[in-house]
Amino acid sequence: MKVLCFGVAKEIVGSSELILDNDKGLTVGELKSYLNTAYPQFLEYKSYVVAINQAYADDKLSISPSDEIAIIPPVSGG
């Protein structure tokens, strides 16, 4: 399972892509718990959201291994 990282998330993770094992499937909420544990720096920043297949996703959504997954830190375009 590949997780795209943008902005400050890319700096925290140290890469623009994070590869995770996800054979049994997990929810967005479970992914966030994993990320906050593996990269505690996320807790120092404003909350981020997760996009699944290029759409904002809530914590209950189940992720399947073929989904396009991205960490979306607070946006600041414009």
Partner: protein, 141 residues
């Protein structure tokens, strides 16, 4: 649909003329353009330049949603939204929103709606480079 909305995320300088020419319409008497530029001073700190990063495919989808919502809500005719990515110098253009409408009031309202919503919802990130450091805008509490 594609003939009334024009969404672009570009790594080259943005063109006001391009946005203006897209929305220009013989049915419309008014065009409103919002141009977001890079300013030297932000909250008392001196900026040297900005760097924009986008989740391009999703950003384009979100910008299309905003364009369609603006047409739906305000009855405007055409809308063009261009956003820059990469390094942008002082006074350079970060974003252009152009809207054409039969009535000027709806042009202003739609343009204002579009830039407000873009700043809240489109996955684009700005890193501000200051004289003495750099940081991702909005990321800190």
């Amino acid at each position: 649909m594609d003939s009334i909305i024009d969404i672009q995320v570009l790594s080259t300088p943005l063109s006001i003329d391009a946005c203006y020419n897209f929305v220009l319409d013989e049915k419309c008497g008014g065009i409103d353009l919002f141009v977001g530029t890079v300013r030297r001073w932000n909250k008392g700190k001196e900026v040297t330049h900005l760097h924009f990063e986008a989740y391009v495919e999703m950003a384009v989808k979100e910008m299309k949603k905003i364009a369609l919502a603006a047409i739906e809500k305000y009855g405007i005719e055409k809308i063009s939204i261009h956003h820059r990515i990469g390094q942008v110098e002082l006074e350079g253009i970060a974003v252009i929103i152009a809207v054409s409408s039969k009535h000027r009031k709806s042009a202003f309202e739609a343009c204002s709606y579009a830039i407000d919503t873009l700043k809240n919802e489109v996955p684009i990130w700005k890193k501000e480079f200051l004289i003495d450091g750099s940081y991702w805008v909005n990321s800190r509490p």
